[in-house]
Symmetry: C2
Subunit: 325 residues, 2 copies
C-alpha cells in the first residue's frame, strides 16, 4: 500500500498541516521542517493524489492580499466604483466557497504576510508586480496585463471584441469606420485599437483613429477635425462607452442622425449606455467572472496546479442596441 | 439536514448517475428524465456542494473526441510530429488522472457521440468549430484561435514573447531589427508579428518585415533583397526557428558573422535549434502544459465551472543561446 500524508508527517516528526503547507508551497514553514518533510516524501515515495491535494487545499485557510493602486483602493473601500465593486464581489464569492480570506491592501503599503496576491486594475505597475513577486508567493493580476512581464493575469479580450464588432459593422456595408481611443499606453485601449486596425486591414479599408482626452474632453475638437478633414464617417467605434457617447452627442449637436447617417459602437456596457437616445450598441465585460476566474487561478497556483504563467482573456459579449445599423 | 444527490434521484425515480449528468450538463439524458430531475431539485431545494460536484465529476467517465485536421490527424496517428505528440501526451496524462477517455477523430469525419471536444492545431477552421458547437457539448481549441469566434481556446502567447525578445535585443543597443514571418493568416505568425511591430513602434524604430514561403524556400531571395535595399540589419527575428535558421545560413553564406554582425532570434525551440552553429536563441513553448491546461478547461466546462468562454495564453520562455548578443 502506498504512503499517506500522515505517514510522511510521522516520519518527518511534524504535523500533517506542516506537510500540507510544504507540498502546497503555502504558508510559513521553517527551513529545517521543510527539509525533513522533503526527505520523508522521498524516502516513502509519497505521491499526493489529486483528490487528496484538492481536499487538503480546501482545509487550508489561504490568506490573500488584494492589492490595488491608490485611486482604486479608495473607490473599492467605499464601493463607489461600478466596475471593480462587481469584480470584487466575484472574488469574495469564490473566497467564501473555498476557505480563502481576502484583505484589501494599498499597493503603496505592501505587506508580505499573505499566502498569495491578487493585484487589481490598470494602475498596477511593473514595480508593484516586482514587489509582489519578491515574496515568492503566487501572484495573479486582474484587469491588467503588462507585455513581457510574464505574470499570471485575467483580462477581458478587447482585441477579439473589437474584431467581432467591426465585422458586424462591415457586414452592414459600412466602410468608413473611425476609431476614437484613450491613451494607448493603457493595455485595454491598445488591445481594442489593435483589433480595430487588424479588422480594417483585413477588410482592405483604411483605418483612421483619434486620441480622446477624457479629462479635458476634447471631443468637440475631434469631431470638427474629423468632419472637415475626413468627411462624414459611416461609423464611429469608441474604445470605451464614455468616448462613444460623447462622439454621439457632438455629432447630434451638428444635426447628424444616429444611426441613419453614422453608426456608433462603444465598449464596456456602462450603466449610462442603455439610457442614451438612441441607446448605445456596445460590449458587455464579464466583471464578476473576472473576479471568480482570477481567484480560481490563484487557488490553482497555491495548490501547485499548472504553475506555468498564463494570461486568461474572457471574451466579451456584443450588445446590439439602437446606435448601430 | 439538506438534501443529497441520492434524495434527488429517489424523488425523480432515476439513477444518481442521471442526476449527475443533468446537473453537469454532460452525456445523454432523455427530456422526460431531465424534467423530473429539475423538478426534484426544485422541490428539495437541492444545492450541490462544490466538493460533491468535483467528486461526482471524477466518477463520471467523460468520453472526449480529440479532433484534428487532415495533416495533423496523420502525424498524430503515427506520432511523427514533435510538437503535437507532446501536446497529446499532456492531454493523455490529464485524462488518465481524471477518468476521461479520448479518441482521435479526423475533422472531416466528425462524430457527435462524445461528451466534449478538443479541437487541435492551426488547421481547425471556423466550419469545424461550427460543427462541434452544434453538438451543444463543451468545445476547447488547443493551439488555435480564430478572432471573433468566441470559443474556448488554449494557445501560446507569441505577442508577449515577441515583445520580451525585442526588448532584450533593444537593450543590447540593437536598432535595425528585421522580422521574417510566415503567412499572417496563421494566428501564431500574426501574434508574434504584432508583438514585433508593437515593440519597434514603442522604441521609436522603423519596423521592416518580409514574408517567408517555407514550401518554396525563398530565403536566399529575401536576404538578397534585405541586404541590397535595407542594408545589413543589427538583428533578424524569425517568427519560427525554421525561418531563423534559414536566414542565419543565408547570411553566413554571404560571409556575415553571427552574432558579431547580426543577431538571430527564433521562436519555438525545435530540436534543431540547439544543433546549429552558433546555437539559436529562441523561445520555448510549453506544449505538454498546453495539453494539460486545455484538458482541465474542458473538464471545468463539463462540470459547469466558469462557463463564459475564455482564451488562455501560456507565456513562452526566452532561451538565450549563442546567435544573439
Amino acid at each position: 500500500m502506498s504512503a499517506k500524508l500522515s505517514d510522511v508527517a510521522k516520519l518527518a516528526e511534524v504535523s500533517t498541516a506542516t506537510v500540507s503547507r510544504v507540498l502546497n508551497k503555502s504558508g510559513y514553514v521553517s527551513k529545517k521542517s521543510r527539509e525533513k518533510v522533503m526527505l520523508a516524501v522521498e524516502e516513502l515515495e509519497y505521491k499526493p493524489s489529486k483528490v487528496a491535494s484538492f481536499l487538503a487545499s480546501r482545509k487550508l485557510a489561504f490568506n490573500i492580499g488584494i492589492v490595488a493602486g491608490k485611486r482604486l483602493f479608495r473607490v473599492l473601500s467605499d464601493q463607489s466604483d461600478q466596475f471593480y465593486t462587481i469584480v470584487l464581489k466575484g472574488i469574495e464569492e469564490f473566497f467564501a466557497g473555498n476557505n480563502m480570506r481576502g484583505s484589501l491592501v494599498p499597493s503603496n503599503n505592501f505587506s508580505e504576510d499573505y499566502d498569495g496576491y491578487l493585484l487589481i486594475g490598470g494602475e498596477i505597475t511593473e514595480e508593484d508586480i516586482k514587489k509582489a513577486k519578491e515574496t515568492k508567493k503566487p501572484v495573479v493580476l486582474i484587469d491588467q496585463y503588462l507585455a513581457g512581464v510574464k505574470v499570471d493575469c485575467v483580462v477581458s479580450d478587447g482585441y477579439d471584441g473589437a474584431i467581432y464588432g467591426m465585422k458586424k459593422l462591415i457586414s452592414k456595408g459600412l466602410k468608413k469606420i473611425v476609431n476614437i481611443h484613450g491613451p494607448l499606453s493603457h493595455f485595454g485601449f491598445k488591445d481594442r485599437f489593435d483589433g480595430y486596425i487588424s479588422a480594417m486591414e483585413g477588410a482592405g479599408y483604411l483605418p483612421k483613429a483619434y486620441e480622446y482626452d477624457e479629462d479635458n474632453d476634447n471631443m468637440s475638437a475631434i469631431i470638427d477635425l474629423l468632419l472637415s478633414r475626413y468627411g462624414l464617417p459611416d461609423a464611429v467605434f469608441g474604445c470605451n462607452d464614455t468616448a462613444a457617447i460623447r462622439a454621439m452627442e457632438e455629432l447630434q449637436a451638428r444635426g447628424i442622425k444616429i444611426p441613419e447617417e453614422v453608426s456608433i459602437l462603444g465598449f464596456d456596457d456602462i450603466v449610462n449606455s442603455s439610457a442614451t437616445t438612441p441607446s448605445l450598441t456596445t460590449f458587455k465585460i464579464f466583471k464578476h467572472e473576472m473576479g471568480v476566474v482570477g481567484s480560481r487561478r490563484l487557488q490553482s497556483l497555491l495548490i501547485g496546479n499548472e504553475p506555468r504563467p498564463t494570461k486568461i482573456s474572457l471574451f466579451t459579449e456584443f450588445v446590439q442596441r439602437e446606435s448601430t445599423l
